[in-house]
Amino acid sequence: MEKRILTLLLVVACTIFGMHARVVKGTVVDQVNEPVIGANVLVNGTIMAVTDFDGNFEIANVPDGATLKFTFMGMKAVEMKAGDFMNVQMEDDVRNLDEVVVIGYGSAQAKDLTAPITVVKGEQLLATPSASPMAAMQGKVAGVNVVNSGTPGEGPKVNIRGNGSFTGGSPLYVVDGMFYDNIDFLNANDIEDMSVLKDASAAAIYGVRAANGVVLITTKHGNKNQAAKITYNGYVGIQKATNVLPMANSSEYATMLMEANYDAYNSFMKASIDRFGGSYANSDFHQWTYGSDTDWYGELLRTAMITDHSLSITGGGEKATYSLGINYLHQDGVMDVNNYYNRLNFRAALDYEATNWLKVGFNGVFSKGTQRTPNNAAWQQAFNAPGIYPVFDEKNTTSLPVHYASPESVGFSNNFYNPVATANYNNSKNEVNKYLTNFYAQITFIPSKLNFKTSYAYDFTSVRNRTYTPEYYVSANQNVSKSSISKGESSYNNWIWDNVLTYKENFGDHNLGVMLGHSMREDRYHYLYGIGYGIVEGDEAFQYINSSQESDSRKADDGGTRYRSNSYFGRINYDYLGKYLLMFTFRADGTSKYQETWGYYPSIGAAWVMSKEAFMEDQHAIDYWKWRASWGRLGNNAVPASDGFSSVSTGVGSSGVFGNATIAGFQNNSHFTYLKWEVVDETNIGFEMATLRNRLSLDVDWFYRMTKKAVIAPRLPFENDVLMQNIGKILNTGVDVSINWADRVGDHFKYNIGANFSYIHNEVKDLAGNPFIAGGKTYQFVGEKMNSFYGYQVEGIYQTEAECAADPTAVANGLKPGDFKYKDLNGDGIVDGDDRTTLGSYLPNFIYGFNLGFQWKNLDFMLTTYGNAGGKMYNRKRALRYAQYNYNFDQDQVKNRWTGAGSTNKYPSAEGWIRTWNVSDQRVNDFFVEDASFFRIQNVTLGYTFRNIKMGSYTLPALRLSATADRPLTLFSANAFTPELNDPEGWDTEVYPLTATYTFGVTIDF
């Protein structure tokens, strides 16, 4: 924004001082005289033009004696006095010190920053074929942990610099001034750039929302004096399941269960053979054969299509700039039923200099998405279902309307389903309409010194869900006797009004900047839900709740939230000769969410550009070296609102039944929460440097983040309820490192190699005297990682009867060879609940990514990788056997089972798998805790660009063809479909396969 203002000032200045102006033309080339396409041409700090496909630019009204500055990502800025025709040559530079970085309520040049802020350009995200831009961030920025999801239309989970809250919480995304919890509605093509504000000094200007990190997103805008640039960008590809966990086949399944207990389980196998073929003639059940050997995952999976098309037009004249875009994405899910996500986005941005003191602008993103959701329960059922019954069974005439096989046909009752039927008898759709708009007006009081900007951002989101459940019958446990339609309407009305006053002044070598602002915000959410039964099958057009044949069964529900906030903030930045930099920020945030309304969030940052000191001037080893240090305080209001007063519960759940009716009742909730936001204090010390003729850059930051007043919910005595209190303290400390090398070999070969990694140490520091706090899945212990698994340590497997007889624990619990032997940690001779200990946590210690790219003539190549290490996950899929002993097994369980003394000291016997001692929620043990580390080839892209293609009289400037393999290879040791879990506490109930995507893309510049 600042740039545009300055342009305006310039114009004003010209008029006032009556300076001469002229037209400037020129060409910008790189060190081997290739044109630089898209370089910014700045006049007095404002982008006035962008070079075209031949590296040419033209600017009218450049004042005499003005200095032009040329910048381009990856190249060193060049400043030149204006001339009539300018030949500009730029050189490679791995550090982009002149890059303009968007910071909170303003912008700054990279060299002026005192905080570690990483900028990712929209183009860098385009290689990843994903519905969500954040998915493409995986592995790109040190300290940012991205956990992807497999469901079409579902965005990833993002953590910046570790997890500092028991309640989780995502970073704050600020899209053109509007606050969001995720940016899944945006397309990478909509994005100009993203600034990741990692440390507290950068984020503190966002106060109570900033504790989980802040990502600022700017959507695309036009540039002045730029001829219309029309670009088409699209790809089409396929998605394939990878890393599908091998499951036991019918014979392996039968072997396990009959080895476990022949009498109990042989009837199921015989029933399957009787009905679906095979033989149990052999007296050794290991030799039985099975006519039905259903690979349920094979039945559920398909190769799915993904395609994306974007068209954008960007340009600008002397007074106005514009950018328009349209994008369409369609992604099918890999489940072999009708499930997909599609999204149509429109985007427009217009900036106009109405007068010499007033500039106005508007931008909007309209996003219309439809998500036909798969019934993900089918994956779970496929995981549990053995192969001994088929998908279809024509003999099963009771199943309607399709003759699906029933698990009852082999004698199974509850807990078993036909997963294919589950997947197919499902019809659920979400329609998401989102309108993000931003209007602003900027008034210049003193050109290039003082201006005021008021902007209003408004977001309206509507989510409509409709779910139709048809009548069907598969088995007594899988049927719906009454069709139903349920519809839900959720709407979000959020707005933010920002007023910002900015002042700049130079006193000789001293530069001062002051910003003062005020912001008001309201978030409203409301939903309305209804359901009706007895709905005729057929077209959506007549499936309405009021067409329900049983009008008395109709039901409705609603609810909502409303929060407001009011904030004052400011920033002072000062530097001396660009060598010593100081920055203070402050925000006072008032929020209606908590009883205590106001919170105060200061920060301070300083930097020293050591390489500008005299003692560094004569050396050539170090091109650039900046030290920086900062401290800041942040708030986290992602913790739930507090009740603030005792309340009463009402409704059916609090009403007694008397005869055939309820009498309205209430129950007092005598305890209530009195919560406030969490507070995070963070210190950051780091440096950035460039060496070896600006080819190698290194960024290192050490950080120490302490979350105070972390909200955690100890269990109330004598109740299942928990009461949330601000009593926790969590430390995240570590190092972020990123290192990049870029160079050329000869004239035509450019390449770059980079790596980034983070080490994070996470520790619960305080729980207000509680010895531990038990959650449903994990525990918190002072001195341990948060969300630690808690249970027994497996010492080995009991190998012999004699070993069991000699162990009092084995005697007391009736244990047999093949059962787990747990460690007697307290040494009292018997294993019981007091012998449990922490067994690790899902939080990784290391997150890393490597990338490699080269460009040779018109050929380009890019490889990115991503990995993390140090986390553990709990294989709940296996542990869930406690609920149903004859669920299917994964192959690893079968192949490695204990089969006699000395066979294994790690895996239990087949019989062990059906014994409570080994498998139970009461017997969490480290056999089930697996290594969650993984390494992935994230993305490989190969592209070729054709330039200046003559098509009759028209010359097409550029056409690029590319092929991408996204996530083609993931390596991990856990017995899992993926180590990227939905559950932040690391319970692996994940049964969706990961997908790899292979695409072919085209980019055309018209």
Binding site: I443, R554, D643, V657, F718, E719, G833
Partner: protein, 484 residues
């Protein structure tokens, strides 16, 4: 100067924005503050009482409480070796204090106590606005109802855990446990209040259909007295119930536990559920209580197939020539019920093949369109047959003749009448009559010293341990017991 004007405009905007001090002062959406309950509206005074019944249904009938209540008497077992295996161990007196279900049982009953405590506070708030004597009487009757349900929760707690904490207020921080005897005195106080203030009617005559009445209180008090060996008091209390001539045994034992027997004249307390007589839409029910113990059915929706009746019991009942009570109490896999419902045999032969017939609602009795096992049925808690048998036993133990009440129960069960019945005969009768009902048999065995016949039983495993999850976090639970 033009710029000055702009500055003023901008300044005004900012002042305007900040002037709204009320801007942040809004109430949270969709939450009713407690102080907003209108305690002057006496016609709403039953609301907190209704809330306690709701807690009985939603908490007191949690499915895991049920097996924990009934699996230790040798006649009933968990029924499944392949799920919730600890329930099998618990039945064999091998306890694991870290079992989640134990903690659930503790929390759900104390949850009931807390809701009841809160309801009494609310009733007191209403009482401040009462002007008429009739409203005063209603207030006392409502308090009595709440106290009956509170005593019920404590009764179950003492049955399961022995010495437990008396929670006199919900804010109490000292959670030291009291002796079982002290808790019983506390319950009896509550029940005495109810006997004096609640209406002397059958539950199905109560102002709120099926609510607990003075007679419910008398029966619960009689049960406690019997456990304490206070036979004269037990006799007096049950005499009062019998002599009211309001109660009678439901003649059709088979249907007593089914839809026709809901809140019949034998009922003294039920947990009520309803489908509103509608074929679809919401039901208000006890969640999985019926489904948990539903057998695998061929022609209708079955359940989770838990709760088995042991062969030992069946053989014993057959040897007694029991007919209608055996048929009603036990459902056998591979047979068809008299209502034509086909019970499947389970593939896993280590699981039970016999189920609790008292939780069975025939498909013919379900509201058309409803398929959930046990839909629309109530859970029977206390019934008149108990009052009769307590009366008989109390008399016999005092050297009197208990034949009359005893033979009423025999006659209804189509069993020959006996004369000069002994205490042991009454205990056998109770075993038959109350099989699979709320651990009555286990209680009988424990209070008469016969529990030592049970394999694995000893005095120190009579009660379950206090759940580890509570002990680990509440230090006062480990204090020395208090006798108050």
């Amino acid at each position: 100067m033009k710029f000055l004007k702009h500055i003023m405009i901008a300044g005004l905007l900012m002042i305007g924005a900040s002037a709204c001090n009320d801007w942040l002062d809004i109430l949270p959406e969709n939450t009713i503050p407690e102080e907003d309950v209108d305690y002057t509206k006496i016609s709403d005074m039953y609301m907190p009482v209704s809330g306690v019944y709701a807690k009985l249904r939603t908490g007191g009938m949690h499915w895991v409480i049920w097996p924990l209540t009934i699996v230790r008497d040798g006649d009933v077992w968990s029924g499944r070796v392949d799920d919730q295996g600890l329930l099998v161990d618990f039945g064999n007196f091998k306890y694991d204090a870290s079992f989640w279900g134990l903690n659930e049982m503790w929390n759900q009953y104390y949850g009931m106590v807390k809701v009841a405590n809160g309801a009494l506070t609310s009733l007191d708030n209403y009482a401040e606005h009462i002007t008429s004597e009739s409203d005063q009487a209603t207030y006392r009757a409502y308090c009595g109802e709440v106290r009956i349900l509170r005593a019920y929760a404590y009764y179950r707690l003492t049955q399961a855990f022995g010495d437990v904490t008396i929670l006199r207020t919900n804010e109490q921080s000292d959670l030291t446990r009291s002796t079982k005897a002290a808790v019983e005195r506390y319950m009896l106080e509550d029940l005495q209040y109810a006997i004096e203030n609640c209406p002397k009617v059958r539950p199905n005559e109560a102002p709120h259909y099926g609510a607990a009445t003075a007679y419910t209180a008398e029966l619960l008090a009689a049960k406690i007295r019997l456990n304490r060996g206070e036979y004269a008091e037990a006799e007096a209390l049950t005499n009062d119930i019998i002599n009211s001539n309001k109660f009678e045994l439901y003649s059709d034992f088979y249907n007593l536990f089914k839809i026709p027997g809901k809140l019949c004249n034998e009922s003294l307390l039920e947990c009520q559920c309803t489908d509103f007589g509608m074929s679809s839409g919401d039901m208000v029910d006890a969640d999985m209580w019926f489904v948990f113990q539903g057998p695998p059915m061929a022609n209708m929706e079955g359940g989770w197939t838990f709760v088995g009746i042991t062969d030992k019991f069946i053989n014993w009942a057959q040897a007694r020539n029991e007919t209608i009570r055996l048929e009603t109490s036990v459902i056998v896999g591979g047979t068809t019920t008299r209502d034509g419902d086909v019970v499947n045999v389970q593939g896993n032969t280590n699981n039970t093949n016999t189920w609790n017939g008292k939780a069975y609602t025939p498909s013919t009795q379900l509201t058309p369109g409803r398929t959930k096992y046990g839909a629309n049925n109530n859970i029977r808690i206390f019934r008149y047959a108990d009052a009769l048998l307590i009366n008989a036993e109390a008399k016999v133990r005092q050297g009197k003749n208990g034949d009359a009440p005893f033979n009423l129960v025999r006659k209804r069960a189509q069993m020959p009448e006996l004369s000069n019945v002994t205490a042991d005969q009454i205990l056998d009768e109770r075993r038959m009559e109350f099989v699979c009902e709320w651990g009555e048999r286990y209680n009988d065995l424990c209070r008469t010293g016969k529990a030592s016949e049970l394999p694995g039983y000893s005095e120190n495993v009579r009660y379950y341990p206090v759940p580890l999850a509570q002990v680990q976090t509440i230090p006062t639970l480990s204090n020395e017991l208090k006798d108050e």
